[in-house]
Symmetry: C2
Subunit: 120 residues, 2 copies
DNA sequence: GGAATAAATGAAGAGGTCTTCATGCGTTCC
DNA sequence: GGAACGCATGAAGACCTCTTCATTTATTCC
């Protein structure tokens, strides 16, 4: 029941306007260099804010603002541990979405064509 | 050599600032309802502009603007066929990125937790 | 309690995005 | 050649986003 040459075995996408809005919002959470850096840092494990800020080279305030956005969208969680608030990716869907996004983006960058159906 | 519980077998993401900018740009191309609708329509096959506009309920001009952006980023191609210019997804990476993005976003929406490592 | 550390927050401003409107360019058909 | 069709394009405006600065809240240690 696979698509064979199409590659992986995800169902083909079907979107109504509402779903599109939601997906767009989620993707927009990944669509900024600062947040991508934050998320990939979290991909390596839980991190307190200051450590995140240090790792990605941003000010603490800026990181907090972005973390709030990611929290509100349910992509990360923050739990207090002493003075620190340790952030973490919410679940595997976030981690995988991140990995796939980077994987495919980098392949698009390289111009590795893998055309589906030239229809010409 | 798999990650086992981590799910699929993509390598864990590693990004420097430059790569992050590129990935962010690519993701931003997907991070809008209008473009998601356009791309998912193209997921079903090649389409001329007017047909796209009709399918997604946008004005022709707006669709053309978005198609230019997608073209410039290498996500779609457009080839003239008579009076029409038929657009198509560039390759399988685009199709898969789209599918995965929708798949994971919708699962995040449903709140299907699949937590990796709660870390305390 | 008071100082120090960690993080969140609000306001404000620079810059970007998306749509609409008006128009221009290329193609087909008669 | 001229009209109609299909698409691209530029300008303009409303709106959103991201960062910085200043301040506030929560926690620990003495």
């Amino acid at each position: 029941m696979g698509h064979g040459v199409q590659g992986r075995d995800r169902p083909a996408a079907r979107l109504d306007a509402d779903a599109a809005t939601h997906v767009a919002t989620t993707l927009q959470a990944l669509a900024t260099p600062s947040r991508l850096l934050i998320l990939t840092e979290l991909r390596n494990g839980p991190r307190p804010v200051t450590e995140l800020a240090d790792a990605v080279g941003m000010e603490q305030s800026a990181v907090s603002h972005q973390l709030r956005l990611l929290r509100n969208l349910g992509l990360v969680t923050g739990t207090r541990t002493g003075r620190n608030i340790v952030y973490n990716l919410y679940d595997n869907h976030v981690a995988q979405l991140l990995d796939e996004a980077i994987y495919h983006s980098e392949h698009l960058r390289l111009g590795l064509t893998d055309r589906p159906d030239t229809a010409g």
